[in-house]
């Protein structure tokens, strides 16, 4: 169920903050935590990896912040940054697709919902893809599918460990079946990476649902989930409408997935880099 309820969700505090906007917020600005309602100073939140110091709620972070968090200083170089979406269906709903795209570009400063590139993580050479929920709900259209596929192909060829940080509402409706087929495309290319013996670690962050969960996100050797993330195939609103019941508390959280055997570890954001580093030590030495 692509995107589903995330467009209905209140945007108040979990909005992705583009770097330019963030600088304008003074250190002393107060923010109310979505999860516990506690009041946090902006500066305190930034220093704590945008995790609520009171309840450990992981606020969404932008893809560039994530890249900075995971890669060694100045080691990351972006790939395929010039790929941008077309409007193959001439899709018009309440808004036209080109309008959606230009608004997302303006809001995030990004060209698409994923950044791919190569860099180093504690000196391990990695191929890294980071999705950004701020760009049309992190949805996967042709560009996301193509950039991920190219990165996987490159990692396979160069035997570089692959890390993908997921955050997505699913396949992008505005590109119709072309989006859905990206699930098959990215999955097929991952089969080749596994055959070549290249490690792939996937990191599921809040929220990861729909077509991304049902393709590359869950086809990794090791699956990590950030604390408290919403992860699933169908979105909770769709499930509630289908079964006509309220969902139990904690349903589809990282901890729920851990309990049901769907992820290897639930990791706090501050430990993420160290955890991946340790895993790469195991797999590539």
């Amino acid at each position: 169920m692509p995107i589903s309820e995330w467009f209905h969700r209140k945007e108040k505090y979990t909005r992705v903050t583009p770097p330019s906007e963030k600088k304008e917020i003074p250190e002393g600005t107060c923010i109310k935590c979505d999860a516990c309602g506690g009041v946090i100073f902006q500066g305190e939140l930034e220093r704590n990896y945008r995790v609520c110091p009171k309840c450990d709620f992981h606020f969404r972070i932008s893809s560039w912040d994530r890249i900075n968090l995971l890669t060694d200083e100045n080691s990351f170089s972006e790939l395929d940054s010039n790929l941008t979406s077309e409007d193959p269906l001439n899709f018009v709903a309440a808004k036209s697709y080109p309008e959606n795209l230009s608004q997302a570009k303006e809001k995030t400063g990004l060209r698409e919902a994923v950044i791919t590139g190569e860099g180093r993580l504690d000196d391990h050479k990695i191929a890294l893809a980071v999705m950004d929920f701020g760009f049309i709900g992190g949805s996967m259209g042709s560009v996301v599918g193509e950039k991920v596929t190219r990165l996987v192909e490159r990692a396979t060829k160069e035997k570089t460990s692959l890390i993908i940080v997921c955050s997505s509402g699913g396949a992008r409706m505005q590109e119709g079946m072309l989006s859905l087929m990206q699930m098959a495309k990215t999955s097929a290319t991952l089969a080749k990476l596994h055959e070549a013996g290249v490690p792939y670690i996937s990191v599921l962050t809040h929220p990861t649902t729909g077509g991304v969960t049902a393709s590359f996100a869950t086809l990794a050797d090791v699956i990590l989930a950030e604390k408290n993330a919403l992860i699933g195939f169908a979105g909770p609103r769709v499930i509630e409408q289908t079964i006509k019941q309220k969902l139990p508390k904690g349903f589809q959280t990282s901890e729920f997935l851990l309990e049901h055997g769907m992820v290897d570890m639930v990791v706090h954001r501050k430990d993420l880099k160290a955890t991946i580093s340790k895993l790469l030590d195991f797999f590539v030495g």
Binding site: L83, R172, M181, A184, A188, A214, S215, A234, I239, T242
Partner: protein, 323 residues
């Protein structure tokens, strides 16, 4: 007529004429003179209107035909096209999912493995088969059967017909996403030919999980979509009643998907939809299956896998200006 007929909105004018015709015929039988001409005229009108309605169905109307309760199911085509079908059950992990039907059969002289979404013929069977919406165990059963086919060098025939993978608590607990992703990855690797036929509803990832193939066909009134028109309408229009507009926008019909090279061909349906003549429809399906397997059988297995990958690899539409 012994049962209430299921009438789609756009068929109402037709049904009105038909019931008028029925009345006239009763009168004639009762001995009323001078109405033969009127009956003949009405019959012609009905034929014309039928032709007119069905030769220009809108995408949303096609979705309704694809969902028609009388539409032939996977099991119907299995009976009409194949011989000696043996149904296999279970994923060996949790349970048997009746929303997926599968097992070996003969297509003329050729051994094949059939895997398909299975809807019910009536409410009771639909409840048992969860309206063709599989749980993870359904996808895992499908995968198990496809692995068998790969081992015994049998081509795989997939029938797609689902509103989508089931969105429920148990499905999430048992890894719906992981099950679908697993099929997508494995289907890319099998060294036997795979042919998929969408016979009705192609609902999103739950349909695609049986849709990675060397050749993909659609019945003329089937639809294949990233999201249901209703779901799309409620998200992008914030209005469920815009499903018709959403169906148009999503380009989910066979002709559009052929243009986008998502599918390889369209299988004709009789006027009025597949349920008006399942025999005719099944002959069309049988022909493309035999032709496709004949063609794909000539490929060495490594070439087959390579071509299947190439087929997927090229799907996508984007701009890449040289920097």
């Amino acid at each position: 007529m012994n049962m209430a007929r299921y009438v789609m909105d756009f068929e109402r004018p037709l049904v009105k004429l038909e019931s008028r015709l029925g009345e006239l015929k009763k009168l004639r039988a009762a001995g009323q003179p001078d109405i033969a001409e009127e009956i003949e005229y009405l019959e012609k009108q009905i034929k014309k209107l039928h032709q007119k309605i069905y030769s220009s169905l809108t995408p949303w109307q096609k979705v309704q035909v694809a969902r028609h309760p009388d539409r032939p199911r996977t099991s119907d085509y299995v009976g009409l096209i194949f011989t000696d079908f043996v149904e296999f059950h279970g994923d060996r992990l949790f349970k048997d999912d009746p929303a997926i039907l599968g097992g070996p059969a003969f297509l003329d002289h050729r051994r094949v493995m059939i895997v398909g979404h299975q809807k019910g013929k009536d409410t009771k069977e639909n409840v048992a088969r969860n309206f063709g919406m599989p749980h993870p165990e359904g996808y895992r059963k499908a995968l198990r059967l496809m692995k068998l086919a790969d081992k015994f060098d049998m081509p795989i025939i997939c029938f797609i017909d689902t509103p989508g993978a089931y969105p429920g608590i148990g499905a999430e607990e048992r890894g719906q996403a992981v099950a679908i992703a697993g099929n997508l990855l494995e289907m890319g690797q099998f060294s036997v030919p795979i042919v998929a036929v969408n016979i009705g509803e192609g609902g999103s990832g739950g349909a695609l999980a049986l849709g990675v193939a060397d050749r993909v066909f659609m019945l003329a009134n089937a639809y294949y979509s990233v999201i249901s028109p209703e779901g799309c309408a409620s998200i992008l229009w914030r209005d469920d009643s815009k499903a018709s507009e959403a169906a148009e926008a999503l380009c989910l019909t066979a002709d559009k998907l052929l243009d986008f090279e998502i599918i390889d061909g369209i299988i004709e349906e009789p006027l009025g939809g597949a349920h008006h003549d399942p025999d005719f429809t099944s002959q069309g399906i049988k022909k493309v299956l035999i032709d496709s397997l004949g063609e794909l059988g000539a490929y060495p297995s490594d070439k087959l896998v390579e071509e299947r990958y190439r087929r997927l690899r090229k799907i996508g539409c984007f701009r890449e200006p040289t920097p």
